[in-house]
Structures are given as C-alpha cells and as structure tokens.
C-alpha cells in the first residue's frame, strides 16, 4: 500500500493551493470558511475529491445568489484544472493509468508501463481507479476518452496506441530524450 500511495500522494498537495482567490469567488468558497481544516490529512483521494465535495455544496449554497457557478457542474472544475496543470508538469513523465506501475490493472496501461520501463526513463504513475472525480475530470482535461494517458513535459502525448506506435517509430524515444534534456 505504502508504495503506490506515496506515488499518488506526491503531486496532490497541490490541491491545497488550488483554492485560489478566483476559484473562491467562482464557487463561493468563503461560505465554507474552514476549507483548509478539512484537509489536514494528506490522503490523496480525500485531497483530490475535496474540492468537489466543496464545489457541490457551494453550488447548492449559491443557487439562490445572483452570481452563477455553473462551472462546478462540469467534471473538470476550475480547481481540478489548475491542480492538474501543476500535476502534469510536476514530473517529466507522468502516466495516468489503471492500477500502479507494479500492479497495472488493465492491459493497455500495462503496455505503456512496460514501454516506459524498457526505455529506462524515470516516470510517475497515478492510479485513476482510486478516484472517480479525477478519472472523469482528466477525460475532459486531456480531451481523451480513455486511459492510460501519457504526459511528457507537461503535454499530453497520447494513449496506448499512440505510445506504442511512437515507440515503434522512435518518436517516443525522441520526445522522452528531449524532455529529459530540457
């Protein structure tokens, strides 16, 4: 347990700083004053689902007020978007996958893990099965309907088919080399 939780937990403390003043305005965070007290424990899943629980409450709260907070209904809330902006660039190579590096729970995810392992590049994985909000939000964030999703240098590189194709053609190695040198 400790191993993959560590991997997952690392990028997510960003969530706490995702409650920007702008977000607070959009979603009426100020009505829920004790925002930060809820997230004392750094459990990744709790941390990432936290803005959503808040968002939905905030939406309810603000439904009678004049300002609109329609963005809260989307799977990709502004908070998740800004957190993901940070997460995808927190490491050169990030793989959002089903399962973990050492225990992939899907053949497609496994393929990409094996490719990356064979290329000997350091990479982080995030298990999207642990968090439904993250899973749905990421589909919108990457405009990609399935997992795995590979990010290189903060940019969406592709899913399994693309990673495999690019691996065969050498493009993946090129992209990774470029990322490692940058």
């Amino acid at each position: 347990m400790s191993f993959h939780l560590q991997l997952v937990a690392r990028p997510f403390p960003f969530i706490n700083c995702a409650v920007t003043p702008t977000a607070a305005l959009t979603c009426h965070y100020h009505r829920r004053r004790p925002t930060c007290f809820h997230t004392k424990k750094l459990c990744s899943a709790a941390a990432i689902s936290f803005p959503f629980r808040l968002a939905s409450t905030a939406t309810k709260l603000s439904s009678s007020s004049s300002s609109s907070s329609f963005r809260c209904f989307s799977a990709l809330s502004p908070e998740l978007k800004s957190s993901l902006d940070k997460v995808v660039s927190s490491s050169k190579v990030i793989l959002f996958m089903k399962g973990t590096k050492d225990f992939p729970q899907c053949g497609f995810s496994n393929t990409v893990v094996q490719i990356l392992k064979s290329l000997n590049v350091p990479f982080e994985t995030i298990n999207i099965l642990e968090n439904e909000f993250l899973r749905q939000g990421l589909k919108e964030y990457s405009s990609w309907p399935t997992f795995p999703q590979l990010y290189i240098d903060g940019e969406f590189f592709g899913g399994c088919d693309i990673a495999l194709e690019a691996y065969k053609s050498g493009e993946l190695q090129e992209a990774l080399e470029k990322a490692m040198c940058s």
């Binding site: 990609w144 309907p145 399935t146 592709g158 399994c160 088919d161 693309i162």
Partner: protein
C-alpha cells in the same frame, strides 16, 4: 447498452469518409471493445495524436458505451497505398 459493429462503421463512414475502414469487435461479443483501422484523407497533414482525436470525436456518442477503443491504424490514403505495396512486395 452495447454498440454494434455496424453502428461504429456507419458513424466512421459518414464522419471520416474513409478510403479504407476495418472495424473489429474485440469484446468477445458484448460490443464494448473495438479495434479500428482507418484510412482517410482527413488525416492529411495531421499528427498521430490529432488523427486519433478525430476518430475519438467522431465516435463521441458511441464512446459512452464502448469500454476500450484501439486505433491500430490511422493513415492517409498515400501512406496506406505505400504500406500495401510494401506488404505485397514482401509476400511475393
């Protein structure tokens, strides 16, 4: 709710006007998993990622019921002809 192979084919045909299309049901009968080979002029000048995005966009409705979609080939007609020529040469 499953999506039939015919449905996937007809959607792709109408949206991508493919030069060649091969849809294989890889689900073992439940219709939730497909493998696709598609050759279309619309891929001209586009990177693989953009080509896959086109296919994903075309199948956005179907994707709600498809669990896994594998795009094994997304080529332009020229690339396709080139590949065909190569394989026939090798076979000969």
């Amino acid at each position: 709710m499953a999506v039939s192979k015919e449905q996937v084919e007809s959607t792709l045909k109408s949206k991508l006007n493919p030069y060649h299309l091969d849809v294989t049901d890889t689900s073992g009968g439940c219709g939730a998993s497909y493998s696709i080979e598609v050759v279309s002029e619309q891929f001209e000048g586009k990177r693989l990622l953009e080509r896959h995005r086109l296919v994903n966009a075309a199948l956005v409705e179907e994707m709600k019921h498809i669990h896994a979609l594998s795009i094994t080939k997304a080529l332009t007609p020229d690339q396709w002809k080139e590949q065909e020529a190569k394989t026939t040469k090798e076979a000969a």
